[in-house]
Symmetry: C2
Subunit: 644 residues, 2 copies
């Protein structure tokens, strides 16, 4: 194949690619991050570039996304355009995938860390409540004599058995190498690192000379599709020393789980996605290390929680069958693996454990959520809801649990909307409409660039409350000064051209509203099916945990107003922040918690909604603001009646 | 350092070494195998070479070994002679270490193989009597449906749990890689290989596409100090397909355990010894593979039994502290290890298991002996004795067991004798003296080159019976035509100059007899101390198992006559051949046997004779033919009285 040159402006970066390569791949090669929600499928329309010069060939798919005006301006979709000769393009600001503003609040860090020994009553200490997955034991062994000449290994195990009574302890083979010399040249003082593989088996994975027990650190990771958050935890004190977060570098292969699966299984293969998540985590670890002046040699474990696909990609397992009926993952429970074996930066012996999941669409992040919300500890009927591209829902208590996942589409993450964007700088995230006046707050107080999920929810709720749209989501007050009609579709202008970063107005169209209604309808319907499957109704939910970074910015009242959350008393609803990270941390700090996570994941009964007839009916009934059955939303009914 | 050339004749091999290197190392470099019982310590005097020309420097040690005649002929000891300039030497035939004649009799092969399923009554089958350490399970899995969409791993485990009820089953991480594709491209037909790690835990170490369950082979290895024997076993039928044996290539670093430890811990380091035993086993495996037209990929396990030092050297563990007080090995129980990780030729996933030992001087070979002799299954009081450089002794039954090890020195292996040699071609191994006539049989019916252990025992017994020596081992019939006096020491000529291969007479000197009396004295004393430690006497021994290759050639009557074995009825004494190999095979064919071996090794109480006062007294009392206390040897007493 002939080689052609592609130049990206204003970066002035030029790469050489084979003729026929598409511009998205060329941009990846040039390390220019282009928005690509769909991962190059040509269905999100986010990867707009402007052609300056050159020979290109665009697919027909692109045409449906581009207006006449855009075509005249030589706008093209990067993923749908092949370069045939030397080409030059401009990357407009809105097509660039910027580092998200990932909020690592104190709240996330302080959340639900199991407390160390000292702070617990004796009874809990005795049952070993606080016993990290990886422990370092400083041993001062008595030197052998003729009367006591058991083998070196037996001498070590004899001491350790006092700490782990009734449990099988094994020294891994690698610990035997050079052990004889190590013991004798260090006056029989060593530090043994134990990995509690399960309640029945403890493995000694490393022997250090002298006392290194004061350096026992772990990394808890929330492997999110969008963002990855890593915490450095002192396994002795249980304290979180530091936390770092970044974009998941996999985003260049698709923004959501589905498009990454498609990439892994057909286009680019598993390896780039596996490498991308490993690189992301390693970068976070490196940053944690340098900020805390710590060596990776002191990291003795990594515990990761993620959805099923993310966990598969992290471990280098094929995610392909997760996506297609009958939705089967390779595994829901993952054996321990040496972290370095899969490329993670940690000590030579550090173990990676991944939180167990339930099914293809209810993963370890949800198990972590149940664990850290203590939903499974309480006799109260609780619900956990994690809102994203998929909405995962768990309902139950300490006796039973059911769960399901509903595909919500990208609406909550800014996809499927004309001006939708992720919750990054410049996104409108809060909206209040008072008569003709529109008030909004943007992330980072920047000039508006678009609107993110929480902003869309606010806007719809406010439009409804102000009688600008009806309960079907149609515009009814067309004379509102912020309502305009573009290409025959009514839209609400949140920010006019002169207010914005880009000079283009930020709007929410009637189509956008329709998309969000579908998304929230899917989640509410799923929740209703799940609640009713166990003979209950929304009102029986005594505690509702809203998990995920998204949850933190959600307005409860508005969420109930549009019918995303059920109409239950507000004091029953609790935002629990990054419960995936909290669960990972808990498991790292107590192997009992890890065992509990295993139990939780086995206990949950998973409902497959794609084959559930009731779900389709409920979904249709939910395509209304808040719902076709207003008796389900008594407080909303009251409010709407007041506004009339 | 300056380089010098060393040429070995008649091989015409020249190597370049640094000036100051000794000739034994130079010979190793030239790959010429020189006899070196002591491993280069200068104490066995077996590495005689003849200097043709060159500049060398000999240590004083050498002088004590060489006669005036030899010094005149420029004979030198290779290990005690440094080369300073270019040198040429001749290697005489008797200084060459020849491949031993290792007898692999049918008897060894057929010994005590646990029988496969078909031959066992149902009751035994049900408790899983015949369940190999590594099993291959062909699974035809039902393809997933929406109603049954458990993960791939759970689908496999669900099937395997039917085979291993109540046992924890884990799939190793490596089996997860590519599993999704493997299952689907093979219509859900796979073969899982399980390793029964212990009674509580089964690990799946490999998944093959389709049905490979008909190829499940294992290698049982007796890792002897002198010889290594390897068997190819079909793990499905329990049949031994083939057996190979060879010299342990470690011999070039010292003939006995002690000299190898010295080499590993001071001179050459652990690595050459580790490599030598691995190479030896790999050569045997290669030979088994080619003879049986089998690929190493079908080898799913290797089970090895050896003494504690041999096991350490095989696994690459430092043996140094085994040799010095308080005699502590790195380990007596060894964790499973992937065979390839330590360099053994087998399938990628094959596991190496080493039989557990009891102490530094009672190793896995003895545990294997107890297991395969069924000593620990019987209510009869039994004894197991393994005679070599060390004599290991076990006494006990199904309720208790005690054991010890006595250093016997090299006498039984032909060391410490003027014409002593190992049991290789040309060694006199059987001797009968009738009046003036001496009848002998050599190994391989070759011209005599020397005399091996069993030949020495026969000779001493016959000399005693014929009144040529007294019970102290002194020559009393100096007028016997075969008795000569050389350098003031009387000796018995077994073969005159004209009968032998080398043209030198083969003799047994009074000093040689003294050495052997010390060796047999140590073993008998150890046995007596051990028997009496549990309040018994020799007569209480209801079955005596004589283990080891040496045992096969031993004459029971002569052994009792000289006081090597106790004077008990001959029908209680049984030669059990290579019980180390038999035990390894049993463990490979049944994990219950392996668990039993673990139990046996933990059950045995080890006596440390080096700190035992009674042992020294008994040793002195045993320095007589057969013993100072003739009441212990009533039948010998009777015989000797008859001959008077």
């Amino acid at each position: 194949m002939a080689k052609v040159k592609v130049t990206f402006q204003p970066d002035e970066k030029t790469v050489e690619v084979e003729a026929g390569t598409n511009l998205l791949e060329a941009a990846n090669k040039a390390e220019i991050d282009i928005n690509s929600l769909c991962g190059g499928e040509g269905v999100c329309g986010k990867c707009r570039l402007i052609l300056v010069k050159g020979e290109v060939e665009a697919s027909n798919k692109a045409l449906s996304f581009l207006s006449k005006k855009e075509l005249d301006k030589n706008v093209l979709l990067a993923c749908q355009t092949k370069v045939l000769g030397d080409t030059e393009v401009v990357v407009p600001p809105e097509s660039r995938r910027e580092e998200e503003q990932i909020l690592v609040s104190e709240e996330i860090v302080q959340f639900d860390t199991p407390k160390p020994f000292e702070d617990h009553p004796a009874s809990q200490r005795e049952i070993g409540f606080y016993e990290p997955l990886m422990q370092k034991h400083f041993l001062k062994l008595p030197p052998p004599t003729l009367e006591d000449n058991v083998s070196d290994v037996d001498r070590i195990l004899r001491d350790l058995r006092k700490k782990f009574r009734g449990v099988e302890i094994e020294l891994e083979f690698k610990c035997l190498k050079g052990l004889s010399e190590l013991l004798r040249s260090n006056e029989w003082k060593i530090t043994a690192t134990s990995h509690v593989e399960n309640g029945n088996c403890v493995r000694i994975v490393n022997i250090d000379p002298r006392d290194t027990s004061n350096k026992n650190l772990g990394i808890a990771v929330d492997v999110g599709t969008t963002s990855i958050v890593a915490e450095l935890v002192d396994l002795r004190s249980g304290k979180v020393l530091s936390v770092e977060a970044s974009h998941n570098q996999q985003a260049r292969y698709g923004e959501d789980v589905i498009s990454r699966m498609i990439y892994a299984c057909s286009r680019g293969g598993l390896n780039p996605l596996n490498q991308a998540v490993i690189n992301t985590i390693n970068a976070l670890i490196a940053s944690l290390m340098s900020k805390n002046k710590i060596s990776v040699e002191d990291i003795s474990c990594v515990v990761a929680a993620g959805n099923t696909t993310m966990t598969h990609l992290l471990l280098g397992l094929e995610p392909c069958t997760i996506r297609i009926e009958p939705y089967v993952p390779t595994a829901d429970h993952f054996p321990p693996v040496v972290a370095r074996e899969i490329g993670l930066q940690a000590s030579e012996y550090a173990i990676l454990r991944c939180l167990p999941g339930v099914s293809s669409y209810v993963g370890g992040d949800i198990t972590a959520g149940v664990l850290s919300s203590h939903l499974s500890d309480s006799s109260k009927i609780g619900a956990l809801i994690d809102i994203g591209t998929n909405g995962e829902i768990v309902i139950g208590n300490n006796e039973w649990m059911v769960c399901c996942s509903a595909s919500a589409g990208p609406a909550f993450e800014g996809g499927g909307s004309k001006c939708g964007m992720r919750a990054t700088k410049g996104a409108i995230q809060k909206v209040v409409i008072e008569g003709d006046k529109v008030n909004y707050i943007t992330i980072g107080n920047a000039k508006p660039r678009g609107i993110c999920g929480s902003g869309i929810i606010d806007t719809i709720a406010q439009l409804l409350l102000n009688g600008i749209i009806d309960q079907a989501g149609h515009f009814i007050k067309l004379d509102h000064p912020h309502v305009q009609i573009e290409d025959d579709v009514p839209e609400f202008v949140l920010a006019f051209e002169d207010e914005t970063e880009t000079g283009e107005k930020v709007v929410l169209t009637e189509d956008d509203i329709g998309n969000l209604i579908k998304s929230k309808g899917a989640i509410l319907a799923a929740m209703k099916v799940l609640v009713e499957s166990v003979g209950l109704s929304f009102n029986d939910i005594e505690q509702l945990f809203v998990a995920g970074g998204f949850g933190n910015f959600l307005d409860i009242e508005n969420s109930i107003l549009i019918g995303l959350l059920p109409d239950i008393p507000k004091d029953r609803i609790k935002f629990i922040g990054n419960s995936s990270l909290a669960g990972a941390r808990m498991c790292m700090l107590s192997y009992h918690a890890f065992e509990k996570a295993e139990m939780i994941s086995k206990q949950m009964t998973s409902f497959e909604l794609s084959v559930n007839k009731q779900f389709m009916d409920e979904f249709v009934a939910s395509l209304f603001l808040p719902h076709t059955d207003m008796s389900l939303f008594p407080t909303v009914k009251e409010k709407l009646e007041k506004t009339k």
